[in-house]
Amino acid sequence: MLKRTPLFQAHVDMGAKLVDFGGWEMPLHYGSQVDEHHKVRNDCGMFDVSHMQVLDLKGKDCRNFLRYLVANNVDKLKEKGKALYSAMLNEEGGVVDDLIIYYLEESWFRIVVNAGTAEKDVTWMKEKASGFSVEIVPRSDLAMIAVQGPHARERVWQAIPGSESVTSNLKPFYAAEYDPYFIARTGYTGEDGFEIMLPSGLAENFWKALHGLGVPPVGLGARDTLRLEAGMNLYGQDMDESVNPLEAGLAWTVDLKSERDFMGKAALLEKPVKFQLAGLVLLDRGVLRSHQKVSTSKGPGEITSGSFSPTLGQSIALARIPKEAVPGEEVSVTVREKPLRAKIVKYPFARNGKSLI
């Protein structure tokens, strides 16, 4: 039996094509994945991301525990509501999950983890929490809706009267509470917008209010092409427990400078970095897909995420290739036993409505 979010019936009513996504029955699209993609880049759209797991970390040792638990430096969180993206590593330096941490109080941090890894993460965190005075509280009573796109914020302000005053000055990667809503200026699309946590019982009304304001629902299909264009990693594809974050485009999130010790740090310091995550743009006709082999002048690599980019009108990919390979190089990708030409590019590919290639 697949798990369902509080918005399941709303998805059915809106004509969603539903698929099994990590054990959840979720909307893939509501008609056209490409149209939904363009709407988010050019106007706005709403996503049900209630399958993601919200965890509240409570207790006097929150900060010390997080200093040890995650690779990014939680001491960057000084202001209430500030958010931090980080990887959580195992002893070998592999990625257990990627997550966002919101700082609310010294004794209260909020963490959002991936749906497919939620159970594993909670077990992992509880195991690592021994010796710290912290409690990990899964907030399965909360739903989460992302509203993304250049006009997303104003639609949210219309849908939640009074919320504008507390969120209009919110900088990117900050959150504010507007009881009972928790409104974060974060997302997974490369567009402006909010991710909103709210009590499950209010989710359907909020969803329908947004819809009434002309905000179209967007499925996981467009969510994937939007995040790929924005150059954002997907756990399980671009990195997992066998992958070094420094070879997965996550070096900017791994704090090796401070004195702080954290889970996986020693292993990372010992391992030579041989690969990088690079962008590819397909020059020939076709579509790049994950696991296709890449041949560069510096050695072989592999595509981790590939798709058609609706914004660029051509196929793009993230690929793990030797770290010596540089943007501009033409490489060969094996697609159905045939070599196709692609070019290494710096990513993101698109953000804020525009192609960056």
């Binding site: 006709r285 076709g286 058609f308």
Partner: protein, 129 residues
């Protein structure tokens, strides 16, 4: 579900039409395009290629996935739909007027073994359960 009664079908979701000149036109069904979603690339076979029944001879790729298209009968590819290079979305818009390739069949009688609309409908319905 749109399944025209004047066409023949395969269980791998190709539609097949015997033209008056004895050439066979092939495309993918409305059900197939609906499962795949927004089409972004269609690879058609080279003209002159000999194909055997059941052989992979074209690929349709949506944003979501790539799917092989199989030769519904044995014969020689005599034409491919070049319009699809620039506008693969035509497959989504009208699956039955958007053909992929044409085959000169080795034996026209091979068509008799293909599914009629009713038999294909039964396959589509059984997949839904």
């Amino acid at each position: 579900m749109n399944i025209p009664s004047d066409l023949k079908y395969t269980s791998s979701h190709e539609w097949v039409k015997l033209e008056e000149d004895g050439i066979v036109t092939v495309g993918i069904t409305d059900h197939a395009q609906s499962l795949l979603g927004d089409m972004v690339y269609v690879e058609t076979p080279e003209v002159g290629r000999k194909v055997n029944q059941g052989e992979e001879c074209a690929v349709v790729e949506s944003v979501k996935a790539a799917s092989d298209v199989y030769a519904p009968i044995s014969g020689e590819i005599v034409e491919k739909n070049g319009d699809l290079d620039g506008s693969p979305e035509k497959v989504n818009e009208d699956a039955y007027s958007t053909w992929l390739f044409r085959i000169r069949p080795d034996n026209v009688s091979d068509l008799d073994a293909l599914l009629d609309a009713r038999a294909y409908q039964a396959i589509v319905e059984s997949e839904a359960h």
